[in-house]
Amino acid sequence: MGELVQLVVSGVATGAIYSLAALGFTLLWQASGTINFAQGEFVMLPAFAMLFCVLAGMPLWLGVLAACAAAMIVLGWGFKRLIVDPLIRHGVIPLVIATLGLSTFLKTTVRAGYSAEAHQFGSPFPGGVFRIAGINVSWADVGTLLVAGIIVIALQTFVTRTVTGRAMQAVAQNTEAARVLGIDVKRMVLYTFLINAVLAVVAALLITPTYLAKFDMGDSIGLKAFLAAIIGGFNQTRGALLGGVLIGVLENLVGFYVSPAYKEGVALMLFLGVILVRPEGLLGKVEERKV
């Protein structure tokens, strides 16, 4: 029993990281109809940015802040202005192809320009474990859950309890009505891209100590975040949280009780199961679209 609880706690912590990246998928989709298949690389780039800062002698917290600033400019504002804005008027498919291309470009650039090797990345949390009610819990898992929880609660509070958050919700729910009511739709969409960039930095901070900083580290987290968003419901931020945690927990359980070889296939199997039974996702709502 203690073993099971340990696996669940550890799985929830890993799933929380998937959830952060998945949140980015749902936020961009709701605000602007963008599906970003370079989301995994949006996690990989800040990992290298933070690594660069630390190797340059900066403390990690300063590296995180610098990575946040750089990510907001490059992965938030730059991505929106250079790729999304010119392509979104042509529909979703050109943007999907462009972000797939961007994913390859970013990976290749980091591999060619920096290194193909995996680099150690220090954990922001203390090492070791502690025992509580007969269960071993690692400080890294507790720290990961705390940071992810704080980010999610802060984001939810911002979106539901502030004037700007309400305007962002309005844009996500009905862009045309929001525009007529004087809401600056472009600005609200930009805020969403900036938030996505910050989420990517936090996900990078939490996952890189395990995945190591490597040019292709985004492949796995990008795919799992995308599947988590679909499993939970692409049009629901709560769905992204649920989807991420479900994948994290099931991966741990399958890896331990069945075989580690099947661990990487869990997200895909769960995705197939959900999409067959409930195509809109576990918490998703069926959307009507004008054709």
Partner: protein, 250 residues
Amino acid sequence: MSAAERFLEVRDVVKHYGAIRAVDGVTFTLAPGEIVGVIGPNGSGKTTLFNSILGQIRPTSGSVAFRGEDVTGMAPLELARRGVGRTFQTLQVFGQLSVRDNLIAAAQEFQGSMIRRMFAAPDAGVGRRADEMIELFRLGHVADLKAGTLSYGQQKLIDIAMAFMPAPRLVLLDEPCAGVNPSLVEELRELLVTLNRTQGGSFVVIEHNMDFIMKLCPHVICMVEGKVLAEGVPAEVQANRAVLEAYLGN
């Protein structure tokens, strides 16, 4: 023409879609506080005229001036900042927000600068006004419910209340009675009269409910095939033979 009459000046507006002339040289003016009704059979260009006035589409030719300023093709965001609001034929409420939050969202963008709004109280300083509108539209019992869970008629009332939240100078109402229970229609008319009297805004109303529009609007325009077929006081327009033929056929 006096300055008052030039409050809204729509001059020779034309909108083509290929060979189709959806709006074909429409001209009319609106004075401050005036309510004008626009009637006409389906496909006569009424909503296209609204969209042309509100910058949602750019007219092929012609001009729209609001309070002496040329606003032809101006973006809805800019028009909203000048005090122009609208409702749509179809519901445009934010389904996942509560009724009260819908009303606040409709007015919050007019409360100071962007920075000030970012750090403003959650109700953006318009909570009291939202409560007044909730009371006026008798939505108190559903104020905290998500708008998307309410009946069509209730959502229609929210839609209209949202258009009036920023106290606009001009509101264009596109079929406010569509889908509304007949028992609510008279109540809706009284609400609009009250808003016109208390807020002093001008309204342009598209509607198929003749009884509603004849009672609400002192001036009525009838459009057919993109053109103004007749205009004047309701009784005149209603008695106009060409209007009757347009509605009933030859």
